[in-house]
Amino acid sequence: MSFTYPRYPSPPIPDRRAVPVVVVGGGLVGLTLALDLARQGVPVRLIDDDDTVSVGSRAICFSKRTLEIYDRLGLGEKFLEKGITWNRGKVFFRKQLIYEFDLLPESGHHYPAFVNLQQYYAEAWLVEACAAAGVELYWRHRLTGLDAREDGVRLSVSAPEGDYDLEGEWVLACDGARSQVRECLGLGFTGKVFNDRFLIADVEMEADFPTERWFWFDPPFHPGQSVLLHRQADNVWRIDFQLGPDADPEEERKPERVIPRIRAMLGARPFRLEWVSVYTFRCRRLERFRHGRVIFAGDAAHQVSPFGARGGNGGVQDADNLAWKLAALLRGEASSTLLDTYDAERIPAADENILHSTRSTDFISPKGEAMRAFRDATLLLAARHPFARRLVNSGRLSTPAILEESPLNDPAASPWPGCPPLGAPAIDAPLTARSGQRVWLLDALQSGFTLLAQGPLPEGEREALGRAGITAVTIGPEGELRDEAGLFAARYGRVPGYLFFRPDQHLAGAYTRYDRAHLLALKRWILAGGRLSAPAPARAAAEVSP
């Protein structure tokens, strides 16, 4: 195996016991959030009860949006280099291929639909980046108790040297599905628990299978159940075997049970068993993610089944959503109401993930004979009838949340036909800089609030926007960036327009006429908490209809 688990040193009990932000949990989400905050100049302390990265086989599929977020955090290229890029999937019923799909059937994007990579690699890079960005990393410092007040939070922490108290202005609960923070606050989950058990086996082998996601319903080598095959880095392949609700997890983990299952699938091909575990899944969430000065993100806030790869990817989008808001608040630029928009935006996103994840799990594990008959009939019909293909659900893979109902979307905006909906994350496109260098659109959206102007801005406006903390980027024949391939125009509509993006690259406003006063008022309104704080600013300049 090529990955060696790092052992991070556990620092002594700190002298400084009052800090602005404590992140509890250094998993995928806590590390992402800590890194994002630190890169925005926020002092962050992270405590984790362990001293290494995610052990064994967990997340492997990192979605396009997650890769774009990691690109903003300086890590995107590492995923491309080390991970396995894939866009295509195949679904089989018994031995028959019933359909194929392509998740990104268009070119002109920096990142693919998915990169497969073991979670431990991602976390190890995040730890390095956090350390470089100045995050105080406290390994083997475990949260044991918590007292949340209106003006701050007292945490009880247990470290190898002994127990101590820590005071945080804000606590970000990223301590995973068994969250101690949640326990301490006495919060429950609403949702569904599935009884079906799944065996996860990671095997190392040389194989020339195409780099695709393969999913079987009722295959001859594992009758009556489903199987999923995915390639990861280092010639490691993830195989998920559905076992049914009655499987004994202890028995099923034993090599003498696992190896024959893999042999039945792979035949005589040599392989080495790298990791085995047996899982059950939950699709559920907390009622609210923000509880005063304690804010939940990732698995601590919501959990889904792995079919659709929505757990880690959803959690990374939580971090992306929360970091700029908290950083703005700590800089004194935003009101605490802005943090309520985290709930308003991420709860619907979690519900979307839970909905799709529940539907996939229901399809993969049908309840009762009739449902199984409908499921199998759908699969039989799918080979011949496109309508049935739409119903087949082997996991609806993670897509970015579109914050259509966001309280931060400008009601006075006037998006034109072909313009992405307000609340959507920016769609990438290849552009050319004046120097002739090829750049990606998302590279231009990495400096906080940004106005993308299709066409030139009036004299002096760039500077005026800059003084108000808005970066202006012009696209067009005379602009800083040229759309030579025409893909920017195709993806944003052909109307010359002005697109206003938030620091997390989600679209908050789109206008056909430039109005600086409105953009400045809009930014202030967003930082105050948007619709949760006050009606949106009116627009002085009339829009021209496209």
Partner: protein
Amino acid sequence: MTGLRFDDHFADPDGLFAALAGALGDLSAEEQRQFTAALALLLLNQLPSREAALAALDEARSVVLAAREIPKETSP
């Protein structure tokens, strides 16, 4: 294609299968069989002509019989 919702064509986008699961939900095994038969008859009745109904019956039978032919052996 916008690069945003690039997989709208699959995985029960309209939630129809989920609605079917919901409708079967708390029925007993026998009731589920009756539901299934009742549903088939209701849908046949929705078809525009007797010919369309007979064609649907033919196709359903042919799909089920074709499954007998799906090879059972081999691995990937």
